[in-house]
Structures are given as structure tokens and as C-alpha cells.
């Protein structure tokens, strides 16, 4: 990105002042090298977001931002319903409530070294992943409705996990306001056999070790130290969420002229929050959030079964589950007053500061965990929301490494089998049915996740807690 059109607010915060149809400025959080690597499209798209009605304060892009659909991935924007604010299907994305769940295994690295290959194979066999995979459940309409209303709570009720898991899931595992009646027949059809499936692309289940602790005190209080083993899951609302996104992007794009909305890009498809279409989308999107929460809950259960087979002493307690493609109604200070705003986070993680009632009691003194998923060859990070982050970008932070190269380029540059071999020599076991898929997800196709985590901290969006290095990666 050409930085000449940006005003430097600090080393990690850059502003595009209001111009043209922009109602608010656009702000990009990143260090200079990350921002120079960003596609020009990020600047164009975040400026377009700043043009939408009812937007409050500014349109924000996180340090891992890259070109998306309408909104950039890594985009954050809040809208006031009382000022004509909109809800945007393009501002949430196709994989509604895609997110990361981290599990504490209670194990140390030496305990898994001798069984690592067996554990990798067992996990790969237990976790349905990739195109065409199905879960063990087949849901009829009535059961699907229950799942869509109750999310992870439904899954626990069906025996997938433990009741105490729910305390560590955003929204306590159940998104309020879901309306299963807004879920189309096609979306239901796509989901009937997909509960408890991982998906493909950048979705994964990883066994990771704590390679670095940034905050000894907080880590110790939460029971983490270097050498601990965790499991991370990255996936979302599967076919149902994709279908909801697909249908509402088209419906909103078609309806835009009726609402008097001129969209700079059709993918910015949106509708006034108070309109029937806006309300329909919110009901459907919240149901899709519940689908994602239920899906990650079932995958947790499957991971526990696999671990029990190989390492029965493992506990796999949920540390935290956070979604990064959502629109949520939240209370924030903006314009000198407390307001209820619809906060869109598309490839961005909520990062509430300490004390927020939304956080589980055990984590309330520390702030909301921000789970930044990395690549199979580099690292992931756990950060914490802070009092400062609470006031910045509506309590939002980065969500991942962010792609630096297209799939097309990556597939030309790397060979999957060679990558698997190289990573194995560095102690990372990859389980995937597709070598082309592995090549497209090559670690080198992503930005430097350590730089993203550092920029997130330095921009005041969250503070670093742990760095996690991959040991086993199961991909679809």
C-alpha cells in the first residue's frame, strides 16, 4: 500500500481522513512494513465502509487486513440504528462466526513426543475434514431448529462436551436473537450432515506448544507456562453459514436501491438495521453463529475422544472460544456517550478489557482472550484485551496471519508433499488429504504472524500473553 495518502497518527496507527462520500475517517492499525505489504484494495475497501450510513467514529482495519468482499478481511465498523445505521452481510462474510477455540490439554511436550505420530493419525481419523466430509449426526428440521436456537448449549445437551465448557465460550455458547425461521431450505439442506466437520482451506485443528510467555504473571494465574500443550480449532458455520451469507449478500445488493443506498461495491451489500430485511439477516446470522458454536463444541468432543485413545491423562478443558466473523449489538462509549451499536467484525476478534460482564468470571480480571490463528509452519498467539483496547476500535483486534499471496501463486510456488516433508523435519506433522491444499496454505503465503501480534499489541488493541508453536496440524 502506498502510505503517502495516509496520515501517521502513531507508529502503529494510520488515518485516511474523510474525503468524498466518507462519513467518518478510516484508520489502519499496523507497523510501516506491514502496511506497505498490504494490498491497495484494503485502503479502498475500508474507505468505502466509511461511506455507509450510520457508521460511528471511524472504519477500522486490523494489522492482518487484506482484500475481502466489500469489507476488507480485518475490517471493523460500528453502526447506530438510531442514526440510520446498516447491517451488512458483506461486513460479516460468508463464513459466519468462523472462529478459534483453544483447549488446555494439561499435558507437557515430553508427554506427547513419543506418541506424536499416532496422535496425529488418530486426530485425522476422528475429525471429519475436507470436501465431501460428513459428521456422524443427521439433523431433521426440528433438531436443526433446536441447534440454531441454542448453539453450543444444544451440543452439550446432546452429550457433546461438558456443561462447564459453555462458560468459556462467547455468549456462553448461545447467541440470543437467533431466528431459525429465517434459515432457508437450501441452507438447512447444506447443514444436515455437516455438524462436527472441520471444513477445508485455512481451517484446522492443531496441537500446539507454548513456545513463549509474554506476561509471566497473567500466564501463571491462568495456568500456562512454556512447554504446555494446547489444542486449537479453527472453523465456522459450515454450509449453513455460507448459504446464509450468499443469500443475504444477493438480497441486500438487489434491495439497496429501494433503501436509497448507493454502494461503491456491490459486495458492501447492506440494509438498514431497522428494516425488515436487516432484521431478517440479524435473525439468520445469529442462528448461523449458533451453528458455528455448536460445530466447534462437537469438534471439541471428537478431539477429546481421540486424545483419550492415545493420551488418556489429557483433560482438554476449554480455555476460550472466540468468533471473528460477526455483527453483535454491544455497548460502547462513542461520541462522548454510551451507545448501543451493531459492531461488525469481519476477520477481527473482540477484545473486551478486564471487568466486562460478558467475560467468564475466571477471565474477567485479565481481559478477553484474543486467539490469533497462524499458519501450520509458524505460530499462533493468545493475547488479552486491555482497558486501552476497550476504547480502541470498539474493542477489536487481529484474528490471524492474513494472506500475503494468492492461492494461485502459492500453488505455483510450493509443492504440498515437499512442504509436509520440510515441516516434519522441523517437528510439525501435517495430516491432510490434499497436497495441493497444503501448498495453497503454505506458511510463506501468509504474513508474518509474529509481526501481526506485535503490531496488535503496539497499536493498543490487545496485549500478548502466549506464543504457540504448531506440533500437529490436521487440515481439510
Amino acid at each position: 500500500m502506498n502510505i503517502s495518502k495516509l496520515a501517521r497518527r502513531s507508529d502503529y496507527s494510520w488515518e485516511m481522513p474523510k474525503r468524498g462520500d466518507m462519513r467518518v475517517p478510516a484508520v489502519i492499525f499496523a507497523g510501516e512494513s506491514l502496511i506497505r505489504e498490504m494490498d491497495e484494495k484494503v485502503a479502498e475497501q475500508i474507505s468505502n465502509v466509511a461511506c455507509l450510513p450510520g457508521i460511528v467514529e471511524a472504519a477500522y482495519a486490523m494489522p492482518d487486513a487484506h482484500w475481502g468482499y466489500g469489507f476488507p478481511i480485518g475490517g471493523v465498523a460500528a453502526f447506530d440504528p438510531d442514526e440510520g445505521g446498516v447491517v451488512s452481510a458483506g461486513g460479516v462474510g460468508f463464513d459466519i462466526s468462523c472462529g478459534v477455540r483453544a483447549l488446555k490439554t494439561g499435558l507437557r511436550v515430553p508427554e506427547i513426543e513419543s506418541v506424536r505420530a499416532r496422535l496425529a493419525r488418530t486426530l485425522a481419523a476422528a475429525i471429519p475434514a475436507g470436501v465431501g466430509s460428513t459428521g456422524s449426526l443427521h439433523l431433521d428440521d426440528r433438531e436443526l431448529d433446536r441447534m440454531l436456537e441454542n448453539g453450543a448449549r444444544w451440543a452439550v445437551g446432546r452429550g457433546f462436551g461438558r456443561p462447564d465448557d459453555l462458560d468459556r465460550v462467547e455468549e456462553r455458547g448461545r447467541m440470543e436473537g437467533a431466528d431459525p425461521a429465517e434459515i432457508s431450505r437450501q441452507a438447512r439442506r447444506r447443514q444436515r450432515d455437516e455438524m462436527g466437520t472441520l471444513g477445508s482451506g485455512n481451517h484446522y485443528m492443531e496441537v500446539q506448544r507454548v513456545s513463549l510467555v509474554y506476561d509471566d504473571r497473567a500466564a501463571a494465574a491462568m495456568g500456562f507456562s512454556v512447554g504446555d500443550v494446547l489444542v486449537s480449532l479453527h472453523c465456522g458455520s459450515r454450509g449453513l453459514g455460507h448459504q446464509v451469507g450468499t443469500e443475504f449478500v444477493s438480497r441486500m445488493a438487489e434491495a439497496a436501491p429501494r433503501f436509497g443506498l448507493t454502494l461503491p461495491e456491490r459486495d458492501l451489500a447492506c440494509a438498514p438495521i431497522k428494516s425488515p430485511l436487516g432484521q431478517s439477516y440479524l435473525g439468520a446470522m445469529r442462528a448461523a453463529i449458533n451453528c458455528a458454536l455448536a460445530n466447534r463444541q462437537i469438534l471439541t468432543h471428537l478431539a477429546r475422544i481421540a486424545f483419550a485413545e492415545v493420551l488418556p491423562q489429557a483433560s482438554l478443558d476449554v480455555f476460550y472460544d472466540v468468533s471473528h466473523n460477526t455483527c453483535k449489538l454491544e455497548e460502547h462509549e462513542a461520541g462522548g456517550r454510551r451507545r448501543s451499536l451493531y459492531v461488525h467484525r469481519k476477520g477481527a476478534t473482540r477484545a473486551f478489557g478486564p471487568g466486562r460482564p460478558e467475560l467468564p468470571e475466571a477471565l474477567r480480571p485479565f481481559g478477553q482472550p484474543v486467539l490469533i490463528g497462524g499458519t501450520m509452519g509458524t505460530a499462533s498467539h493468545i493475547l488479552l484485551g486491555t482497558a486501552e483496547s476497550e476504547k480502541t476500535a470498539f474493542a477489536s483486534a487481529a484474528h490471524g496471519a492474513g494472506r500475503a499471496m494468492s492461492r494461485h501463486q502459492a500453488a505455483k510456488q510450493w509443492r504440498g508433499a515437499q512442504l509436509v516433508k520440510e515441516l516434519a523435519s522441523r517437528g510439525v506433522l501435517i495430516e491432510s488429504p490434499s497436497m495441493r491444499g497444503v501448498a495453497e496454505e503454505a506458511p510463506g503465503a501468509y504474513k508474518d504472524v509474529d509481526a501481526v501480534a506485535e503490531a496488535t499489541e503496539r497499536a493498543g488493541l490487545a496485549r500478548r500473553l502466549l506464543r504457540l508453536a504448531p506440533m500437529i496440524c490436521v487440515k481439510g
Partner: protein, 155 residues
């Protein structure tokens, strides 16, 4: 990154046969169909969609499915068509390699043929989530006898 949102002029390439292409997008992938009619270009775009997942030549056209869709304009019709194929891939756990499109105005009917996805034989790389409105472009060179249709697919 994305360097080619607009379709290449097929005349300049001196290739007039129906075909498909991919084009780069930062995180995902663009699909492009080129053909002597809009229907043929739509068919090729669907082949490009399959090629995002696996080599279409490995997909046997043994099972037949019919799909239909409509839209408010022809750009959205392309998106609706590709999304109809994606929905069948997802719901039926199938991959498709033969497409026969018949459209009239803004309504489309098609017969698509393929088989159940087989991870070993197809080694599918990614799962398409949805066709998007990004880089959506259609019919730019129809006056020269070739249609080019394209959009980015979220994977």
C-alpha cells in the same frame, strides 16, 4: 495479490474456443468462463469452479442433477448460477464436471453431472463457500462473438 480484475480480451489471445481460467485474488480465487454464448460461458465458469477444488478431468459425470435459478440482472444471474452449483456440491457432497445450461433472460435451468467427492481420487484442495460479487463482470466482448463471465469465489 489481485492484479487482474477485468477479463482479458479473448480476441487478443487469438483463442476462440470455449474455455475457463482462474485469476488471482488476495485470499481467494477468481473464476472465468469464456464461450461463444452466455450459456457456454456460464458452463465454463462452472468448470473453473470445479477446478478450484480439483482437476475436473478426474470427476466422472455419472450422476445427473438439475438446478435452476433466477436473478435481478445478468451479473447476479452468474453469481446465482455458481452458488446453485456450490449448494449442490455442498449438500450432495459431490463434484461436477459436465454442465449444460439453458437460460432465457434472467432465468436459468441446467443439467449438471458429476459424482460423489472421493478424497483419495479427487484430492480436493478447498471447499468453495460462495460466489461473490467481487470482480463480477460479464459479456464484455459479446459484440465480437465471445462472452466472458467472471467473479471471485470465496474458499
Amino acid at each position: 495479490m489481485f492484479r487482474q480484475a477485468k477479463a482479458m480480451d479473448p480476441i487478443k489471445t487469438k483463442r476462440r474456443e470455449a474455455r475457463w481460467e482462474h485469476f488471482s485474488h488476495g485470499a481467494d480465487i477468481g473464476v472465468r468462463g469464456i464461450g461463444p454464448s452466455r450459456d457456454k460461458a456460464f458452463e465454463q465458469a462452472a468448470l473453473a469452479l470445479t477446478a478450484v477444488v480439483c482437476n475436473p478431468k478426474r470427476v466422472k459425470p455419472v450422476q445427473r442433477v438439475t438446478v435452476s435459478c433466477s436473478a435481478a440482472d445478468q451479473e447476479l444471474l452468474l453469481v446465482a448460477w455458481l452458488n446453485a452449483v456450490i449448494a449442490e456440491m455442498s449438500a450432495r457432497k459431490m463434484l461436477f464436471s459436465r454442465f449444460s445450461v439453458r437460460s432465457r433472460g434472467l432465468r436459468l435451468k441446467a443439467v449438471i453431472k458429476g459424482e460423489k467427492a472421493d478424497p483419495r481420487r479427487h484430492a480436493p484442495a478447498v471447499e468453495p463457500k460462495g460466489a461473490t460479487l467481487t470482480a463480477l463482470d460479464i459479456g464484455r466482448w459479446r459484440q465480437r462473438g465471445l462472452w466472458t463471465v467472471q467473479c471471485v469465489v470465496d474458499v
